[in-house]
Amino acid sequence: MAQSEQEILAGLAEIVNEETGLEPSEVQSDKSFTDDLDIDSLSMMTIVVNAEEKFGVRIPDDEVKNLSTVGDAVGFIAKNQA
């Protein structure tokens, strides 16, 4: 069953926390992964792979560069979830 964007945000925040140690409360929709959360490209890929597994979506390598904010990622996952 598709999850709400709120649920996806909460799940994504857990993944980010596990990879970077950032508090889940800091992971908000308007935050940029690189500029605000200081997540580098390799950590971003780890987050992407873990998100694929958690949400049952496929996030192609070419798409990752378009996910600049947390909200972009939540929107992509919501749109592509089965």
């Binding site: 580098d40 490209s41 390799l42 890929m45 792979v49 390598d61 990752v64």
Partner: protein, 339 residues
């Protein structure tokens, strides 16, 4: 009219096989010139801290005069031959894995052979960072198949010749060096079954930036090796850890029985993530030679093993899981006994 054979097919003899092979010697050569991150950072608008965080690299070696691909191959092979107790002139075959020998033809291997006064079979392997582990398998099969008793396998690179000093994705990654192993007949199994393969669909993930034809016809700058870092990272960690696991399974070895994990030294983040995926116990020594050597492509696995053996970090006769992976994309993994 039907052509008929002379009827002597039954007279044909195959080579006499030998049951087992092992790595009987290991050696390495690191170029004289140490290049710290501080020498790299300016042209890529970076910092020592940035490079360490993203790659684990503190310094690398760049080859200079008297350190050609052939020179470094010989310098790495000499201690390997000494450990194996084999003379260079007695080798039956020489396999050189490299992508940075600057001649399209001939291969580097016959020139290495010549330096040892050898006229043995000598060919290069073009499988980039996976080339050495391919060479170990080929040498193993040559010994076991009866084509050779002692095979020299060299992994050697002068990647500094093919690295753009201005490419933020690769300028800090690559280094130069050579590692070598001798594969010999053995009374007991010393090289487990290899899991290997390729994924040519992803050939652009790591490649020379332009073909020689384009460089010539379009008068382009000297090409370098380019890399799509995120694509390679995903493939390496989540694609290659299962390959390494399959190599363990094929050898009948569990992670608890390993003494060492020696993956291609692509990036310490990849090394750490693979070790985590494999669930390695804390007592398995994990190669992190990349910190002081950089990514030396085909040379990285034997250089890492050589350092671990020389420093007494891993026991001779113990088990090491090694895996090479890189441009192609190509990969090969096997469990070996430590020489």
């Amino acid at each position: 009219m039907t052509v008929t054979s002379k009827g002597f097919a039954a007279a044909l003899r195959s080579a006499t096989p030998w049951q087992h092979a092992r790595i009987s010697g290991i050696g390495g050569y690191r170029p004289r010139r140490v290049v710290p991150n501080s020498e790299i950072v300016e042209r890529i608008d970076s910092s020592d801290e940035w490079i360490r965080e993203r790659s684990g690299i503190i310094e690398r070696r760049w080859a200079g005069d008297g350190e050609s691909v052939i020179d470094m191959s010989v310098f790495a092979a000499e201690p390997a031959l000494e450990m194996a107790g084999v003379k260079g002139s007695d080798l039956d075959a020489i396999l050189v894995a490299t992508v940075s020998w600057p001649y399209q033809t001939p291969a580097a291997a016959p020139l290495v052979a010549e330096r040892f006064g050898s006229t043995a079979m000598a060919v290069d392997i073009s499988a980039a960072c996976a080339g050495y582990c391919h060479g170990i398998t080929m040498a193993n099969d040559m010994v076991r198949g009866g084509s050779a008793e002692n095979v020299l396998v060299v992994g050697v690179e002068r990647l500094s010749d093919f690295t753009s000093r201005d490419d933020r994705g690769t300028a800090f990654i690559f280094g130069d060096g050579a590692g070598a192993a001798v594969v010999s007949r053995s009374e007991t199994p010393g090289i487990g079954p290899t899991i290997w393969g390729s994924d040519g669909e992803k050939w652009e993930a790591i490649s020379q930036t332009e073909s020689w034809i384009d460089v010539h016809e379009q008068k382009l700058d000297w090409p370098h090796i380019g890399m799509q870092g995120q694509t390679v990272f995903r493939w390496a960690v989540w694609g290659m850890a299962p390959v390494a696991q399959r190599a363990l399974d094929a050898a009948g070895v569990t992670v608890d029985q390993l003494d060492a994990f020696i993956p291609h030294q692509a990036n310490v983040r990849i090394v750490d993530a693979m070790a985590k995926q494999l669930g390695l116990p804390d007592d398995v020594a994990v190669a992190r030679d990349i910190a002081y050597t950089g990514n030396t492509s085909a040379a990285s696995v034997p250089l890492a093993m050589e350092r671990m053996v020389r420093q007494g970090e891993i026991p001779r006769g113990g088990l090491a899981l090694q895996i090479g992976f890189g441009a192609g994309l190509s990969y090969a993994a096997q469990v070996v006994t430590i020489p």
